[in-house]
């Protein structure tokens, strides 16, 4: 019996190890390909071990760094503003819904919940945002449509408030003269950091990774996020030459096309890979909270 159990453990280790390798391997190929000499790629294709090591792709991108830096700026701005705004309005909606005294609570719950069941779809929301709000080619197009708040997070947060903040605590705070805003800010929120961190993290990831809004609403290259830039370069590698070069003579300079493609993807994914060890604990916890409560 002991043997069998040990066998199963060993089997688990082997399978999980293989699965982990399967998950990592594409990233290795990407990084290695970005460090391979252009002629090497033409002769042998992308490979896991560069035969001729070369950083020319990164040098090339470094020379044309302005657009990449700008795209990063857009992404960071959108992520920070979107996450803060989103968390704020989610909290402000979830807190009253967690209080039994709120008038029309059930009706409002239903209004929130129904958005999870039925969606108007892409075409109508596109028309609302472009025809009514004229959001096209503004930074708000990357922040507001769809991503800012969703019913699921509101429900998640409301459940958290209801199950972890004792009603007596809120009552006693209000006996002492705290208003609703005061109660929320100094009593409820300090006790709710786990859910705020979880939802905040997921919103961050959503904003950081979003490419769809940029594709729908943004045509001005100055407002491209890093994902949109990547998207454009994949469709059209010359985009890098016509838009990223500071003067015309640069265009003539030979570009290591194939490794540049990979290098720019590495630049796009690197921040996440570097930051992941620091937030993976919350990420995995967040998946579990979503699973249990959702």
């Amino acid at each position: 019996m002991k043997n069998e159990s040990r066998g199963l453990t060993l089997f688990s280790h082997i399978m999980m190890f293989l699965f982990a390798v399967f998950c990592i391997v594409p990233f290795v190929l990407l990084i290695s390909a970005s460090l391979t000499d252009q002629n090497d790629i033409i002769a042998h294709g992308y490979s896991f071990i560069p035969q001729t090591f070369s950083t020319s792709a990164y040098e090339y991108l470094y020379e044309r760094g302005a657009e990449i830096t700008r795209a990063y700026g857009v992404t960071i701005f959108v992520t920070v503003v979107g996450t803060v705004l989103g968390l704020a309005i989610t909290t402000l909606l979830a807190y009253p819904l967690s209080r039994s005294v709120t008038p029309h609570r059930n009706l409002i719950m239903f209004i929130v919940f129904f958005t999870m069941l039925f969606q108007g779809g892409l075409v109508p929301s596109y028309l609302v945002y472009t025809q009514i709000f004229d959001i096209k080619n503004t930074i708000w197009a990357l922040i507001i449509p769809g991503l800012l708040m969703n019913g699921f997070y509101v429900m998640l947060m409301r459940t958290f408030f209801q199950s972890t903040i004792p009603g007596a605590l809120i009552e006693s705070a209000q006996m002492d003269g705290a208003g609703e805003y005061r109660t929320l800010w100094s009593i409820v929120l300090p006790l709710s950091t786990p859910i705020l961190a979880t939802i905040g993290l997921f919103e961050c990831i959503m904003y950081w990774n979003d490419w769809q809004l940029g594709m729908i609403y943004i045509t001005n290259p100055k407002l491209f996020s890093i994902q949109n830039l990547l998207n454009r370069i994949m469709q059209d590698i010359d985009f890098i030459n016509t838009n990223l070069s500071s003067n015309a003579s640069d265009v003539m300079q030979q570009m290591p096309t194939d490794s540049v493609k990979m290098a720019i993807a590495v630049i796009g994914v690197l921040p996440i890979l570097v930051a992941y060890p620091f937030f993976q604990k919350y990420f995995i916890k967040g998946i579990m909270i979503g699973a249990v409560k959702g």
Partner: protein, 318 residues
């Protein structure tokens, strides 16, 4: 004293007014969120009406002519409607059935690993793909499949004696496999964590008792873990069946690089609607496809939820 004895008509009303005044801060707090839902969710719901119009941007949306079901008629006359519905449903079924099996198996394996540090390590690696945007994923796939420079054509296929290579981005028959593999690469680790969380909830005493009775690890999995988790699996499956009309847009749009040659095996309702809107299709038909998706999707969610309720009220969405 009088008022206590004789109920007066005015009092409940006054009380109600006080209630509003007293809880006004709570109501005001909700205003931004509710306004957002109004503009982001409810106005587009009304916007479904445009599927019944011949959209003419020159005339404006309100002035465009009503054409009743014309857009739908066009949509269902083409073979597109059949192809996108078939693809959406078949891919989802495959993802649900095989994906549930793989994630569950993966969760069980994780549960066998008792070394906390190693477990954490595996967990972080297998959830990593879920964190990456589909744009990056499309680059990863491109590195493998590119016709001229891809790893498959240059390194893997020659091992099997195939010198010519395959033009992956124009051969539609390979894409059901590719997309399925990419989907599992991205999602199995993530959803195995979901199951793993459920496994952690199982009381250790059951296993204790089984061990005393001499049950092996496999018998414990078969007779304790599986039966306890069956309801969870059924719920999750039914809920994903409720979303069977929706596809992971990024997977079907980014990974095949929007290649027209692959329409038959990679187009789903979502990519069809998107392409229609972005100008490479008919916006009327695109709106019609969107409404078709919204309504059938809604009915399926209600149906799935109804079935879940039959099993267990607690697991239902509502």
């Amino acid at each position: 004293m009088d008022t206590a004895l004789v109920p007066q008509a005015g009092i409940p009303h006054k009380k109600k007014k006080n209630k509003y005044r007293k809880y006004a801060p709570l109501l005001i707090m909700m205003v931004p969120g509710l306004l957002y839902l109004l503009f982001n969710n409810y106005l587009p719901m009304l916007g479904i009406a445009i599927a019944f119009k011949k959209i003419n941007f020159a005339k404006g949306l309100l002035e465009s002519d009503w054409v009743a079901f014309e857009n739908f008629k066009y949509l269902f006359k083409t073979s597109d409607a059949f192809i996108i519905t078939r693809n959406t449903i078949l891919y989802n079924l495959l993802f649900i059935v095989v994906g549930t099996f793989l994630s569950f198996a993966c969760a069980i394996l994780l549960n066998e690993i008792k070394n906390k540090a190693v477990l954490k390590f595996y967990q972080s690696i297998i959830t990593l793909p879920h964190l990456i945007s589909m744009v990056i994923v499309s680059y990863l796939v491109y590195a493998l499949l590119s016709a001229d420079t891809g790893f498959m054509n240059h390194t893997v296929l020659p091992w099997f004696g195939m010198k010519d290579g395959i033009s992956w981005y124009t051969e539609e028959k390979y894409w059901p496999w590719i997309l399925t593999l990419v989907h599992f690469w991205k999602s199995v680790g993530y959803s195995s964590i979901v199951f793993f969380a459920a496994l952690l909830g199982i009381d250790e005493e059951y296993y204790e008792a089984a061990r005393l009775d001499g049950a092996s690890r496999l018998q414990q999995i078969r007779h304790i873990t599986l039966p306890i988790l069956t309801p969870v699996i059924i719920m999750l499956t039914l809920l994903s069946i409720g979303r069977i009309f929706y596809s992971d847009f990024g997977l079907f749009y980014q990974v095949p690089m929007n290649s027209g040659a692959l329409f038959n095996t990679t187009a789903t309702i979502d990519t069809y609607v998107f392409k229609g809107l972005m100008g490479s299709g008919d916006i009327g038909m695109s709106a019609a496809a969107g409404v078709y998706q919204s309504i059938v999707g809604f009915l399926l969610v209600m149906l799935a939820n109804y079935i879940v309720r039959l099993y267990s009220k607690d697991s239902a969405l509502f």
